[in-house]
């Protein structure tokens, strides 16, 4: 059985029908990527899974438990954390406070402390700037913070919305290395990316979304070789 099972979800913004029956699944230990053009519905899909948007139809199961019955703030308790689009760090709070808020859903102090150390190990830059206000971090550092903060929830599955957005090419490499590292340590990942080339390199499988519908679904390797994907998303003619 899949760990995360999204079945036929329809999500609306008022009258705008943004997701028209999206189905996808993520198995334990996988990195799955969701790629698509601007406005295709990638962010909407992640926001629906994380409970910020309620689907008008369809179900989302995590290990057999229907998530759509929970209010938004209880989703993280079920084991889902998100690195939101545009990072979404609390800019007026310090780096450390952001990290502490990532563990808001947990209560075991010892484990939280161990987790903090693990995040600082992964991103030493964050430890150096622990007392600094998050709004003063560079874009790359904010990305690290958003990722570290999500990891503080100790999620079963991590949703990442365009973690490479707006970063210099050297930093992008680092982001994808981090994704692989997080995955190796046992966290399942659903990755939304515009940078399809990189995403398909680290992912096991991928879905292609187009105007609110999944149009392709295959292993990452096959998608990389798919001529349609190549011309539309990989810039290869």
């Amino acid at each position: 059985m899949a760990m995360l099972e999204v079945k036929n979800i329809h999500t609306y913004y008022g009258n705008i029908h943004a997701l028209k029956g999206v189905s996808l699944h993520v198995d334990q230990g996988e990195i799955v990527t969701l790629i698509g053009a601007n406005g295709a519905g990638k962010t909407t899909t992640l926001r629906t899974i994380s409970g910020l948007l309620k689907p008008r139809q369809g179900t989302i199961f995590l290990n057999g438990d229907d998530l759509t019955k929970y209010p938004d703030h209880e989703i993280v308790y079920q084991g889902i954390a998100m690195v939101p689009e545009g990072r979404g760090v609390f800019s007026r709070l310090t780096v450390l406070e952001n990290i502490e808020l990532g563990a808001y859903s947990r209560s075991d102090r010892g484990e939280i402390e161990a987790n903090t150390q693990r995040v600082f190990q992964m991103f030493p830059r964050l430890e150096e700037r622990a007392k600094q206000v998050a709004g003063t971090l560079s874009g790359g550092e904010q990305q690290m913070l958003a990722t570290g903060r999500a990891l503080m929830a100790n999620p079963k599955i991590l949703l990442m919305d365009e973690p490479s957005m707006g970063l210099a090419p050297i930093l992008v490499e680092g982001v994808f290395d981090t994704i692989v590292e997080i995955n190796k340590e046992g966290t399942t990942i659903l990755l939304v990316e515009q940078n399809a080339l990189m995403a398909l390199q680290v992912a096991d499988r991928g879905y292609v979304i187009q105007t609110g519908e999944i149009v392709l679904n295959d292993t990452a390797e096959n998608l990389r070789r798919n001529p349609e994907v190549q011309s539309a998303y990989l810039g290869i003619n």
């Binding site: 994380s50 938004d72 703030h73 007026r92 709070l93 310090t94 808020l101 206000v133």
Partner: protein
């Protein structure tokens, strides 16, 4: 230290576009020169002795302490919901009445003027009663008058707040009548210190109010800065959706914020009762507006700003009339002139955006 949110009021931007920055600055300078001139003129006449000024400074600090308690309610709620809770003064009034009835009861069993311990407990009981009733009022207000309007345009909850303010005032009028109720001071705080033969006098009540206010402000500061709930409050103030992703129940935080602000207002209501020795159905109105002014003066949405603004406003009110050679009745005119001037010249308040962003 970090603060809640700090958006600018748009009216001033339109104003500045219309009249241009320079006219703006010129008017400000002229006002300041006129004020200074007037103060020098009055000071030359030496109409008041030093002890009078000391007395007024103390008075201003006491008043400022109470304003700070009330101003925090405005600023905390504004920081999270971007709305001015104009019924906050009535929350204070309800607490004041609860304190009054607590006092009446304690007087009837002889504790208010009994032993020092009994009399002290009376004050504690009054404060608790005031805070609890205010907290209940604040929470009900949020639930019935504001939550259903969440997501509506910003003007809508504002109108609801003004309606709620009238509702509470006239309900109090109906229930408690128009007559002022007398707050007879419990014996422990009924008295004064005379500092040698300097002529300086400090009332026990004043000292009690000032010290208690400061302690409560410190407590609030610790809650907002150090506790998990405080962090959640600041996170919600910044982004409700992302706060929810962290597992923060936004509604719970909003209720907590109202409760916290209301508790301080309730304490303020009891202290104002002790300070003024009377309470009426409309007791909350003026202090509510003043505290709002203080919050704006300090920078609405900013916790530290509310404290600074309040002490400043208290001092301005106590010293202003005499410094300008006006009768003391003009203190309200001075307070509200400050509101207007701040809104025109520096709507972000004393602790403006820049500072609040940098510190933390």
């Amino acid at each position: 230290m970090s603060t809640l949110t700090q958006p600018k009021l748009p009216t001033s931007e339109r104003f500045s576009q219309l009249f241009g920055k320079y006219i703006y600055i010129a008017v400000g300078i002229i006002i300041v020169i006129l004020l200074i001139g007037r103060i020098i003129f009055v000071a030359r006449q030496e109409s008041y002795p030093l002890s009078y000024w000391t007395f007024q400074v103390i008075n201003g600090l006491v008043l400022g302490g109470v304003y700070a308690l009330v101003a925090l309610g405005y600023t905390l709620v504004y920081g999270i919901l971007f709305m001015i809770n104009f019924a906050h003064g009535e929350v204070l009034m309800m607490g004041g009445f609860a304190g009054f009835f607590a006092l009446q009861y304690m007087t009837s069993i002889g504790w208010a003027n009994g032993t020092a311990l009994q009399s002290t407990l009376t004050i504690v009981f009054m404060m608790l009663a005031g805070m609890i009733v205010s907290v209940i009022t604040g929470i009900v207000l949020e639930r019935l008058a504001y939550r259903p309007l969440r997501g509506a345009p910003r003007l809508v909850p504002l109108i609801s707040a003004i309606g709620a303010s009238f509702f509470l005032q006239y309900t109090a009028l109906l229930v408690f009548g128009a007559v002022p109720h007398n707050y007879r001071k419990p014996s422990v705080i009924d008295g004064v210190w005379k500092l040698g033969d300097s002529g300086i006098i400090i009332s026990y009540t004043g000292a009690f109010i000032f010290i208690t206010s400061i302690l409560m402000l410190l407590g609030l500061f610790i809650i907002v800065q150090r506790t998990k709930m405080g962090k959640a409050m600041r996170a919600v103030a910044e982004d409700k959706h992302i706060a929810a992703l962290m597992g923060i129940d936004v509604n719970k935080v909003i209720v907590f914020t109202f409760a916290l602000g209301s508790a301080l207002a309730g304490a303020g209501g009891v202290m104002l009762g002790l300070h003024n020795t009377v309470i009426r159905f409309n007791t909350g109105f003026l202090p509510g507006l003043k505290a709002f002014t203080a919050a704006v003066l300090g920078g609405i949405g900013n916790v530290l700003g509310a404290m600074i603004g309040s002490l400043l406003l208290g001092l301005l009110e106590a010293l202003g009339p005499s410094a300008l050679g006006l009768p003391t009745e003009y203190k309200d005119v001075i307070a509200f002139s400050v509101l207007v001037l701040v809104l025109i010249f520096r709507p972000s308040g004393i602790v403006g955006e820049v500072l609040s962003e940098k510190k933390a």
